[in-house]
Symmetry: C2
Subunit: 262 residues, 2 copies
DNA sequence: TCAAAAGTGTTCTTATTACACCCATGG
DNA sequence: CCATGGGTGTAATAAGAACACTTTTGA
């Protein structure tokens, strides 16, 4: 028996001592965000099997034995929406002992940003229905999915302030007002129009397309697109994207109580 | 057969269809940070068994079937250091298919901040040795632990700028210079002494203990402690902790090259 | 008396905030 | 001609960055 063989035998025996740990499973769950009609939305499915049959849930599935976590998350997303190469990022893992009735199943949560207008519902065996829900009107979900949703929404709020990812939620061409409304929906606050525009334009990340909206019953807005190349350059040279919440200074209303003026 | 029973039977049968997914395991791995001699350190163990026998690695272990993820991370930390109620937070999960020779094992990474002076090495069966390593002098680790370390160090850099957690790494009583050196070690930058002090003191988060260092061969510095209660109050009323990198403006040296002045 | 680190203010520049009116279009 | 949202600038304030000398102690 040469050295390699004895090392291998050793490894196999050691592995056996850990057999009891190899009885669990993991899944991925995606919080897929979209933006439509000035409202932040999440794509939910109505479950078509036990457990939680019939309840609304985050799209997710077991990770196959030979599948990376990111691949699994992408697969779930693609099966449901048909989309590839979409913004998708791990948030964190939820692993309470009793979170799944099948046994020990931990789930790795991802959040995804999609252009809702490009979305085409795919037939998916697990989903009786898939539907966009306004983030403000979601009630009880299957498993611990409300907690996962909260964590992902918080991550989104955070991310959108420090990286230019909001654009992933808008059509390729958008107006500054659409962009502002997007930020307002995500950050759950109001922003000052002039200050917002000044700030965004000063970053030099938008390309003015010299086009305007058509068929709107008001002065048509200019269209812009996000300049990804430019962002990469700026990032490489130390620039960091930063937007603040629109925290207006608290002022006093006529009852003397602190409020946020508007 | 009543409704509940039929539902249960249904559940059990459904479960069987997923048997193949229940053959994997998960571990937790901790990046335990400490600060000593002006240097940011990480606690590593030298592995005492296969795989990667003899290599330096992050402390970690399998998660027991009836154990929450956070509990497992805390257990690993306590077995190694004897410490409880220490700062510990999940970062993210690493799950490449081939990352572990035993089979499919994903690992949930945590980072922890400890007061290194309070640390007492515990005997731990898995560890031949445990030792603090300067973060700048760590080379090849077992598994994918270098990647995990990077991710956790990045998370630390980020966290330390947005939440007052640096104090977890210092003794209860500390000087402003110690605090500054801590930030400099984490952010890998230099900070301006006067600006740093002005900023930190203006946050009103430190209690001046009216004590000074003793036995130092120079003017003794005042001692402060972190006011956790005060931070909770301020946080609740909308305050947000924020420190910037010490990005000095680039200036030109006499060769005309861009440098950071100091 | 020397070495070593502590401590301290001001000026300049940049970023953030608050705020109100005219413009272009479709109906 | 009206309703709707688009588009614009300035002044006041706050925050950040640059910068150098005196103080206190132990050896």
């Amino acid at each position: 028996m040469d050295g390699n063989q004895s090392q291998l035998k050793n490894l196999v025996q050691t592995r056996k001592a850990f057999d009891n740990f190899f009885k669990s499973a993991f899944t991925v769950d995606n919080v897929i965000f979209g933006f439509d009609e000035g409202d932040l939305k999440v794509l939910l499915i109505r479950r078509g099997e036990e457990p939680y049959d019939g309840m609304w849930a985050l799209p997710g599935y077991f990770v196959y034995p030979n599948e990376d976590l990111d691949s699994a998350a992408n697969r779930v997303l693609e099966e449901l929406t048909g989309m590839r190469n979409v913004f998708l990022e791990q948030v964190r893992t939820f692993g309470k002992v009793d979170r799944h009735p099948f046994g020990r199943v931990i789930t790795v949560a991802y959040f995804s940003l999609v252009k809702i207008d490009a979305y085409q519902l795919q037939p998916a065996s697990i989903a009786l229905q898939a539907r966009w829900h306004s983030i403000s009107a979601i009630d009880e979900l299957a498993f611990d999915h409300n907690k996962i949703l909260d964590a992902c929404f918080n991550r989104l709020k955070w991310s959108v302030k420090t990286r230019p990812i909001g654009f992933e939620l808008l059509p390729r061409k958008f107006t500054l007002t659409e962009l502002q409304h997007l930020y307002e929906a995500i950050l759950e606050t109001d922003l000052d129009k002039r200050n917002f525009r000044k700030k965004i334009l000063s970053m030099d990340l938008l390309i003015d397309l010299d086009e305007t909206q058509e068929g709107v019953a008001h002065r048509p807005a200019k269209l812009y697109k996000f300049d990804k190349e430019r962002y990469k350059e700026l990032e490489a040279s130390g620039f960091s994207f930063e937007l603040k919440d629109g925290k207006r200074k608290p002022t006093r209303n006529d009852k003397g109580l602190l409020v946020n003026s508007n």
